[in-house]
């Protein structure tokens, strides 16, 4: 067993698969992170991915260009996110329920469209769709172990890495980031400060739509080369769980989605050793729930310790003192 684990973890192929299955999850998790920061739960990420995956395939087959396919895919994903915004923000619907409804709409809708176009309900293999380029990195390509892991990955992996920085920048450095966090943390205060919360929420929904769109296109034009029904396989839902594990930060999203990637890739390996595939397929979802619980436990404990310290006066005492004494001094001066 130990020998098996060591072989797996030192194999470059394993890490190649890890990165490959992390990429789409990372993208959608970032989408979940940014909408959650603005205080709206985007449950429709799953639906966004499905439409993007299908539209990408159809448009790339029709135009012969993978990038036009991705563009159309992103557009379709954004439309789903905007519909969610329309119902949740403008028509006062429960956002979570709308998300579920949109996913249902997308699960049925994508199969309906696929069947109407190709006469096949399961797979789009009759469409001559394109795939996104795989990047061979010069020099690194020839480094013994590393080259096999990170060279030859799909361009979407690198887009996902870039997205982490972009989202991190948006949320922490840009003005819009402060507005997003203000909207998410205190709606009334944000309104008082002249922020239009609905506009901010729509903005985050569009961003999450773009991210889910890229992820969806990757699934049907890189990860595999066809659209199959239900291709997103719950990744949009996993993203919402991973968002919690990520602690709502872009950097955290890397680790949260890596957990899923590690188990997902491990599942492929464990199948080869003869463990029942059904149980192994359940593993990534199981680990996601575990991660969910562990993170909340840690956060609660930290919170409890912080409160305890605050009560015992072990932290921030000096700051409080200075404030108090400062106030005293002020009042003394005025007296």
């Amino acid at each position: 067993m130990i020998e098996f684990i060591v072989t797996v973890f030192t194999s470059s192929n394993y890490w190649f698969i890890v990165l490959r299955s992390t990429a789409p999850i990372l993208l959608v998790t970032l989408g979940a992170v940014i909408t959650e920061a603005a205080g709206i739960k985007n449950m429709a990420l799953e639906g966004s991915m499905l439409w993007a995956a299908l539209t990408g395939v159809i448009v790339s087959a029709a135009t012969g260009s993978a990038w036009l396919g991705v563009l159309a895919g992103i557009l379709s994903a954004v439309v789903i996110a905007l519909i969610l915004g329309l119902f949740a923000l403008k028509l006062d619907a429960n956002a979570v329920l709308c998300g579920v409804a949109l996913n249902l709409f997308s699960t049925g809708g994508t199969v309906f469209v696929l069947f109407s176009l190709t006469g096949d309900k399961g797979i789009s293999s009759s469409l001559a769709s394109k795939t996104l380029p795989f990047i061979k990195i010069p020099f690194i390509e020839n480094v013994p172990w590393l080259g096999k892991v990170i060279s030859g990955q799909n361009i979407v992996l690198w887009l996902a890495v870039a997205a982490v920085f972009v989202i991190h920048y948006i949320m922490n450095k840009a003005t819009i980031g402060r507005r997003i966090r203000a909207t998410g943390e205190n709606l009334e205060a944000a309104k008082a400060a002249g922020i239009d919360p609905d506009r901010i929420k729509f903005f985050t929904l569009i961003v999450s739509g773009v991210l889910a769109g890229i992820a969806g296109c990757f699934l049907s034009m890189g990860y595999t080369s066809n659209f199959t029904s239900g291709i997103s396989a719950g990744r949009g839902y996993v993203a919402n769980a991973a968002q919690v594990v990520a602690g709502g930060t872009a950097i955290g999203a890397i680790f949260a989605s890596l957990i899923f990637g590690l188990t997902d890739a491990m599942a492929t390996y464990l199948q080869n050793v003869g463990l029942p595939p059904e149980l192994i397929q359940a593993l990534p979802y199981f680990v996601t729930i575990l991660g969910f619980i562990v993170v909340t436990l840690i956060r609660d404990r930290r919170e409890a310790i912080r409160k305890k310290k605050l009560f015992e006066g072990k932290i921030d005492k000096s700051r409080f003192k200075s404030v108090i004494s400062g106030g005293d001094a002020g009042s003394g001066a005025s007296a």
Partner: protein
């Protein structure tokens, strides 16, 4: 005399009350409009993609009543979604979003299969044992997201969706490794014992006694929610958890038993489906009746009394779509698309409260102008 006063209004009076009480009438009208809209949208889609749209539309709209066989099929199709609809009513009354009933239903069917294949019991007792066991397992599964939510504040929708994947894989594992019929090329369990199947209601049709069980459960759940202390606590905890907590209701415990009951109904529904309709477990994928349950519960406005009606509506759409897709060139999945649209419309509070808000605004303006008039007259005097 005193008892005369407190007696409830009779049927005719309550119907009249319903039509004069605009708070009740308006949501009903909007629900009907949402249903009509979805049907129109369906017809629109048929005309968009079908080569013979007229026949397809006819099959879609009239299929369930054109043929006797289809009509019985319609009644059968109502059974599982009635169970999941009732379960979702309870969960939604509590204002939880959990979709765990999907797992309860699926695992209920698996447990029933295990009992149906492995145990030999006398007829009558055999399906009863299977249904109770399936209900208990379904109930315990139903607890999981609620526990996660109460103990660790994990979003119940997200965790229930994860659990739905997990239990789907566990379920197919059990079938494939312990109950599989190796002579079949598809994934199927060994055939059930003869004693496991509940009787058919009408000879030579598929209409089974599960229809009666579902009807009984409609009554049971109505009584449970509106006539018992537990139901009252569930409704109160859902309407205002803080108030309920101050009133001394153990909100966490209420959430737990509500989920157990919902899961129990789901699990039992799965067992009823197995023992009524099948001779072996042959589902190749999870039929996801919980999603239908969501729509049924929302169309019924979370009121179990209206669940049969909304189950009939949804079953009608599904049977019509099935009939149409088997005889034409429109994919059955377009019904899933319509279901999503129905939930979207019904979930929008602004659409639902449109008339109410308008009425309130009108009344407020009226009150305002009368007050002003009175003030003006007072000033003149």
């Amino acid at each position: 005399m005193n008892s005369q006063k407190t007696r409830k209004p009779g049927f005719v009076a309550s119907v009249r009350l319903f039509f004069t009480d605009r708070d009740k009438l308006e949501p009903a009208v909007i629900t009907i409009l949402a249903g009509t809209f979805s049907i129109l949208m369906g017809v629109g889609l048929i005309f968009l993609v079908s080569k013979d749209p007229v026949t397809s539309t006819k099959n879609f709209l009239l299929g369930p009543i054109l043929r006797t066989y289809n009509f019985y099929y319609l009644l059968i199709a109502m059974v599982p979604i009635t169970f999941t609809g009732l379960a979702m009513c309870i969960i939604y009354k509590l204002k939880y979003m959990s979709l765990i009933v999907d797992s309860s239903f699926y695992m209920g069917a698996i447990v029933a299969t295990a009992i149906g294949v492995r145990l030999s019991l006398p007829p009558g007792i055999h399906p009863a044992v299977a249904m109770i066991a399936a209900g208990l397992v379904g109930g315990l599964i139903g607890l999981l997201p609620a526990i996660l939510k109460i103990k660790w504040r994990a979003n119940e929708l997200v965790s229930s969706l994860m659990f739905n994947y997990i239990f789907y894989f566990i379920g197919s594992f059990i079938i494939l490794y312990y109950l599989r019929d190796r002579d079949q090329t598809i994934m199927a369990s060994m055939p059930f014992q003869k004693s496991f199947n509940i009787p058919k209601l009408i000879e030579n049709t598929q209409l089974h006694a599960g229809f009666i069980i579902a009807a009984v459960f409609v009554v049971l759940v109505s009584v449970f929610l509106f006539r018992t202390r537990w139901g009252f606590e569930i409704r109160l905890a859902g309407a205002n958890p803080k108030f309920a907590a101050y009133a001394g209701i153990p909100v966490a415990t209420v959430a737990l038993y509500a989920h157990f009951v919902a899961g129990f109904i789901g699990g039992l529904g799965g067992a009823v489906e197995m023992s009524g309709l099948y001779r072996a477990f042959i589902w190749q994928m999870n039929p996801s009746y919980a999603m239908d349950g969501v729509i049924v519960a929302m169309l019924a406005r979370k009121n179990p009394k209206f669940v049969p009606l909304s189950a009939l509506f949804l079953a009608y759409l599904r049977v019509g779509a099935d009939f149409m897709s088997r005889r034409g060139d429109v994919a059955f999945e377009f019904i899933t698309l319509l279901q999503g649209v129905i939930i979207l419309i019904l979930a929008s509070d602004k659409i639902l409260n449109y008339f109410k808000a308008r009425r309130l605004r009108k009344n407020a303006l009226l009150a305002d102008s009368t007050a002003r008039n009175a003030a003006a007259q007072g000033g003149e005097a």
